[in-house]
Amino acid sequence: MEHLLINHYETAAVILFGIGFLNLLLQNNLVKKVIGFGVMDSAVYLFLASQGYIEGRMAPILVGEVAHAADYINPIPAGLVLTGIVVSVSVTAFSLALIQRLYQKYQTVNFDEIVQLARQKGDE
């Protein structure tokens, strides 16, 4: 329990990850599914960012002279977060485009209804 409080960023991140994951899995509304995906990925970035941050140290940007390496925070998690953001932006764009296409065909964003309509048309 104590560990959860000390690592409160990580705890929050894991809870958010769970919320996002379940939304992506269980929501019927496709747009809410995408939002769930966004929450899930952001939770991972929060986790990474909190890992890289070290209390009382500088951002790893050179200003004037090079200080000792121990004066800076860990820049690798930030790099990973940036890469991750690029990935999730493209995935989100792709999902939204696909949802738009489905909406044009079926006039709804409810996935159960879409599946049912597709089955009725019998064009599976």
């Binding site: 991750g84 493209s90 792709f94 696909l98 879409i114 599946v115 597709a118």
Partner: protein, 496 residues
């Protein structure tokens, strides 16, 4: 450093650049030629690489941009990676050739160029997943292949493919989310991203007994995530609609290659990061083993109930992937060797089956219901022969590739009494079930049509002929002269 050592990087780079250049080309025909060139170039480069490092059993790490570990990004190359890369490029090339007619029929002319971007990116991602030595690079390429794979399913713009793509996309995103959090947790407990450094730290953690619980969770999350993406048993329901409704070349590439990319990564992580002994101790292999067995049965039962020929083949993929997971689940070198061999067998058989099924249904107004295909083999004899060879190989008739794979699985279990009888029993049952749907399908194709049901004659398609002949040759090669391939896989696994 010999010049040949650059070839893995070149093959990935050529595919990525082709993908980027494709939108500038005039039309789909040129984009198609460029894709053929990219996969052909990949095939030639990988073959030369295999010829150089295969016989002598060398392996090496390739520094990207001359930054040494632990800062730089690396590729790691050995005989196993080279064999898989040759297979991936060959299957991609043949799938493009075999599916040519359908690509240009199914996809809108203005979208054709975009389709080939996706094909190039998929090839680049698969090669990168095979070669990479960095876990975060692996994640990025997992996502690239996810988006590209979804895009090639939805390229055939029909309602069925859109719904199937949505389902595929959701499952894939759940899977990659789990892989991502697994990788992040692993980074937190080890502080590294490159495979060799990770392995060192993981072994230290295991030796000191630190972080055992997080390590188990990490392995579980990564296996679960990659399992969802490669249709491991309880998560296989997205596969049949996606693979069954896409255009021919997409179905071939998805079943033959894309699902395997994640399994290849899983095997490499097991050997190069966690080591197979640790995985065995954490008992993750037992779970994979049981899921594999269940998948073998469930996939076949699904295929028996299916009347749509392409969805039937897709269910059969679920069963065949079950074999691969069963082999990994044995948790021994010889089991994983059998799994790698099965990957090659399935990659050379299933694309041929998809190609032939589409060619057969072409003379029946693209009706893919099995009862509509009565006697279709007489209208396209080569496709009929190809389908028959593929079906016999999947059932596991001697001299065909599937038989060799089954023999390896059976002999791999001999050392483990409990797993042995489970495996042998399921193998026997699954062979019977495979026969129960492949034999009727072949019989229908070759029975004389009831009068009035003959379809129109299709024009000759030399590209399809080349691809089918090459696939048939590959099936017989893996079924008869498997020894050199197996030796390469074994050396490769010992060097991982």
């Amino acid at each position: 450093m010999p010049f040949v050592y650059n070839f893995p990087f070149f093959s990935i780079f050529i595919c990525m650049i082709s993908g980027i250049v494709t939108p500038l080309l005039k039309n789909g025909r040129w984009a198609y030629r460029l894709s053929l060139f990219a996969s052909g170039a990949g095939l030639v480069l990988s073959s030369i690489l295999l010829g150089t490092i295969g016989p002598s059993g060398q392996s090496y790490s390739f520094m990207m941009g001359h930054f040494p570990a632990p800062w730089g990004n690396e590729l790691s190359v050995g005989p196993l990676e080279a064999v898989l890369a040759v297979a991936i490029c060959l299957v991609m090339l043949m799938a493009l050739l075999g599916g040519r007619k359908d690509i240009f029929d199914d996809i809108l002319p203005e979208k054709q160029k975009l389709y080939f971007i996706m094909m190039n990116e998929i090839l680049a991602a698969l090669l990168a997943l095979t070669y990479t030595n960095d876990i975060f690079t692996a994640y990025v390429f997992i996502e690239i292949s996810t988006i590209a794979a979804c895009a090639i399913v939805m390229a055939k713009d029909q309602s069925a493919t859109l719904v199937a793509t949505m389902r595929y996309l959701i499952m894939s995103l759940l899977g990659s989310g789990l892989v991502l959090i697994g990788i992040v947790l692993l980074y937190c407990i080890t502080g590294h991203l490159l495979f060799p450094n990770l392995q060192q730290r993981v072994l230290e953690l295991v030796a000191t007994g630190q972080y055992t619980m997080p390590l188990t969770v990490v392995v579980g999350l990564i296996v679960l995530g990659l399992g969802i993406k490669s249709a491991m048993f309880p998560f296989h329901l997205w596969l049949p609609p996606a693979h069954g409704s896409a255009t021919t070349a997409s179905s071939s590439v998805l079943s033959g290659l894309v699902v395997k990319g994640y399994i290849i990564l899983m095997i490499r992580l097991f050997y190069k990061v966690f080591t197979i002994e640790v995985i065995r101790e954490l008992r993750i292999t037992n779970m994979i083993f049981l899921f594999g067995l269940a998948g073998m049965i469930v996939g076949s039962v699904g295929a028996i109930k299916e009347g749509h020929i392409k969805r039937m083949l897709a269910y059969s993929s679920v069963a065949q992937l079950g074999y691969v997971f069963m082999g990994i689940g044995l948790g021994t070198d010889i089991g994983v060797m059998a799994a790698c061999f099965q990957i090659l067998v399935h990659a050379s058989t299933k694309p041929m089956l998809f190609g032939c099924a589409s060619a057969l249904s072409a003379s029946r107004h693209h009706n893919k219901q099995l009862h509509a295909l009565r006697g279709a083999a007489y209208e396209n004899k080569l496709a009929g022969v190809g389908f028959t060879v593929g079906a016999l190989s999947m059932i596991g008739i001697p001299l065909f590739a599937g038989f060799a794979a089954k023999v390896f699985f059976a002999s791999a279990t001999m050392a483990q009494p409990v797993k042995m009888w489970m495996t042998l029993l399921t193998l026997a049952l699954s062979t019977v079930l495979n026969a129960l749907y492949y034999i009727p399908a072949v019989t229908v194709l070759w029975s004389r049509p009831v009068d009035g049901e003959t379809g129109e004659k299709q024009p000759k398609d030399p590209a399809f002929a080349v691809s089918t002949v090459v696939f048939i040759a590959a099936v017989f090669f893996l079924g008869i002269c498997y020894q050199p391939v197996v030796e390469l896989i074994q050396t490769g696994l010992s060097l991982l």
